[in-house]
Amino acid sequence: MVPIMEKPLELIIEALLFASSKPLSVQEIHRCLPDVPAPDIRAALTGLQTTYDAMERSFCLKEVAEGYQIRTRSAYAPYVLRMLRSSPSRLSRAALETLAIIAYKQPIIRQEIEQFRGVDAGGILRTLLEKDLIRIMGRKTIPGRPLIYGTTKKFLEVFDLKDLESLPKLKELKDFGSGDEAAVHLPEEDGQVERSKENETRSGPEEQGLPFPKDREGPTA
């Protein structure tokens, strides 16, 4: 159909639709295949639609407002929904940060957590408690007797950690090259390595003074 292409147009468009996170319009497909005129793309889309209908498979090609999308047929929705509901959920960035503070600084009270992040943590703590990632370890014997938070067994499971001790320590995080990215981080494009490796410290256990309420470096539980 089109000389430069090695694969049939219908299948190329199928691959594009398959791998796309959103519906693709004819123009968007045309942008990927500039040598193919829009009418040909439209014809191929109709062709795919007919093919899928004839194949009687679980998916079909839907034309929605923004373009074309491969979707599962509605008859399969109950199964798909069951699968999607049981698929792993994600944590927001704020929740992840709060979880990180608790993991590294436990036992910790809400006020200390909020000092780290500078914002209210109430809602996030509830979410993390609900997801069974943190637990209430007790109350601190200071005015107000605030709740003390720590991580759960489920937390270890989620992060595939044997124990709390396996959490990398601050110093180890530094060794991963966080601060010195220019010297250590590899260029993604070619296989060349920066030569300035000696900048990276592989030195002894020097303590670094960090502005923490507590002078602990890692989990002690």
Partner: protein, 251 residues
Amino acid sequence: MDYEVKLEIFEGPLDLLLHLIHKNEVDIFDIPISTITEQYLAYLEMMKALNMSVAGDFLVMASTLVHIKSKMLLPCSDEEGEEEDPRNEITRPLLEYMRIKEVAQEFSEREILGRDVFPRQDVSWYDAEPETEGPSLDISLFQLIDAFRRIIEKSQSGAMMLTFRHERWSIKEKARLILSLLKERKEMLFDEIFSEDREVPEFIVTFLALLELVHIGVVKVFQASCHTSDIRLVANFEVDGTEELGEDLTL
């Protein structure tokens, strides 16, 4: 006269050694140690001449090579009288490294996700609320570590300063105030105990005082089932004994 110098970049001493062995077309099991050492040192010199920094790892290998070279000149034998080839010290790591390089090459030739093959994307046309107690979470440990690092960096950069000010209100004082109010009235509304407070820290101290009083059991708190209804505070002590109670507060 200008020369254009094109230097190959080596990832480490082993990488450079391997390059020299291939370039000289010699057997890895019979490395001509003096030739290779010479070329290795020449390469380091060239790097220095070009003002390239030479990593410590390269220098360690240089001294290892020189050491092997000197050992080769004085054939020594171990206890069993068998001659140990000094070159083994570099032959073995080189072989291991070659082996790794080879599988790394094989890795790069596989059908790599995101380069050669592509999966379906997360479906957007279903609005599936995840169950509250989902079986698992989709986060890696690295994300967690990274989140923590961000916080540390934020706090180090001074973007988040902790300030401590002189405490102008004490919980003990506020507790006494609440008790004296309750002594007069037996019962009052939650909002009323804050009526004199002017600043947020003062509110907090008053609240902490109330919590403490509730905790030790001298004040009881009630609220009708509706969340928006008023909270009532009721004295739970003999009106006469309040002075001592105030003193007993272990704050």
